[in-house]
Amino acid sequence: MSEVVVLGAGMHPWGKWGRNFVEYGVVAARAALADAGLGWGDVGFLAAGNTMRNGYPGYVSGSTFAQSLGWQGTRVSSSFAACASGAVAIDSARAQIQAGRCDVALVVGADTAPKGFFGPLPGVRPEDPDWIRFHVLGATNPTYFALYARRRMEAYGATTDDFAAVKIKNSRHGLENPNARYRKEFGAAEIAESPVVADPLRLVDICATSDGAAALVLASAEYAARRADRDRHVRIAAISTVTPRYPNTYLDMPDIATDSAVGAALPERSFRDSIAHAAYEEAGLGPGDLSLAEVYDLSTALELDWYENIGLCGEGEAEALLRSGATTLGGRVPVNPSGGLACFGEAIPAQAIAQVVELTTQLRGEAGARQVDGARVGLSINQGLFGHGSCVIATR
């Protein structure tokens, strides 16, 4: 099965304006089409990531964007996988192309996010694990991030200085990204003054919730080969949307308990490790091949977890890798050259797509002042609530 090609990438800048998410998505879609030199009429399939906080149009994001761009009979899909929604949408578009059902597909994700903590939608739902964890335990997303962060401190000796160093690095990276919401350099003193939200994490350790949109134009290798702009083409070498293997003994949102390891063998690798592993297997590549990575820094500490999950270093070695400068722009394998969620905040269905927009920009060599020199292979990774893996490997 030949690899699909990214012909166009576009975004609506991240921010907090409270406008209709559809507007953001249309801007990003048109930007991606313009980048590809194509029109909406060239699109044979539209795959979108849903948003659950914007009424019915957000549940049927594919048809919502198709209607706003202008009904033309296009087949659509509207997928949800929490923070992994964008990866599932990219995967849906790729499958349609590889199944021979279209030459060109458009992928769109857009969101308008509420302020503050994400909470469940209204209602009383004792059968909904997402409702239970909020009502019974007050276990917000930052609560889980803090449990993971504290675990690094207890198990590997991480310090809050390490977490601050992630923030300092990403805030510097994002300075040069015109689509970033926050373009401001943070220093250790300012971080130390940030209020603690969920100990050991401070407000600046935790990503905000944002408005934003991202879009990609994908095409079959055969279609792409006929175009004149082949030097800008980026190939999708792998998409991993794996779920966990039982028993999943690492606490994942929104569960209030892990699986029990009684009565079943532990899987060969943890869920987070398995997300990247499946992508490496599909791409025939390994961690040593990476020029850069975009990882989901919902919290500063979580970025360190991902270093290990994607194989940049061994378990417990992420702090040392960070301190070595390897993951800073100019280092061996810059992580979050875009500035990451630290500079963007979360716009749930757009986020995994935005990661691939950054990979595309970097692999084309069009990233300007934040360019990773000689970028050849990029990996993006995240994880959605309820067991959704999301990893894309792109090459040029």
Partner: protein, 142 residues
């Protein structure tokens, strides 16, 4: 005095001696535990047995991780006014080979906690309604 009721039916029980115990499901076929029970069937893909027995989980375990929440969560968390910070602990149960979350008992000194220390289950008030005092399980230092 208002009657007590659990914040959610079937997740835990309080005993006459003041102790509390979580109630989960256990598969007789493969031995797996589930908390909460949620469904009648076993979710071990190698098993899939149709029935789970109700089972009391271990009331003691070791601390896996913990945090202290300083900001009020959104609804449906029944935040007190003024907001009262609360700790959350993840505790590993040895027999069940699983980790279970709970709030930390009021007054726990989070700064003094460390992974691996012994914890035990208890119950405390979570909030009051017009009709009842609503109770929840919590973890405290054993």
């Amino acid at each position: 005095m208002k009657p007590r009721r659990p914040v959610v039916e079937g997740y835990f029980e309080e005993r006459a001696d003041g102790s509390a115990v979580l109630v989960g499901g256990r598969c007789d076929a493969c031995g797996a535990y589930f908390f909460p029970k949620r469904f009648s069937f076993c979710r071990n893909p190698g098993c899939g047995a149709p029935d789970l027995a109700d089972v009391e989980l271990s009331t003691r375990g070791t601390l896996w991780s913990f945090t202290d929440n300083r900001y009020a969560p959104p609804p449906p968390y029944p935040a007190a006014e003024p907001f009262e910070p609360y700790g959350v602990a993840a505790v590993a149960l040895e027999a069940e080979q699983m980790v279970v979350l709970g709030q930390l008992a009021r007054g726990t000194d989070v700064a003094a906690l460390h992974a691996g220390q012994a914890m035990e289950l208890c119950a405390e008030d979570l909030y009051e309604t017009d009709d009842a005092v609503v109770r929840v399980w919590k973890w405290r230092i054993a």
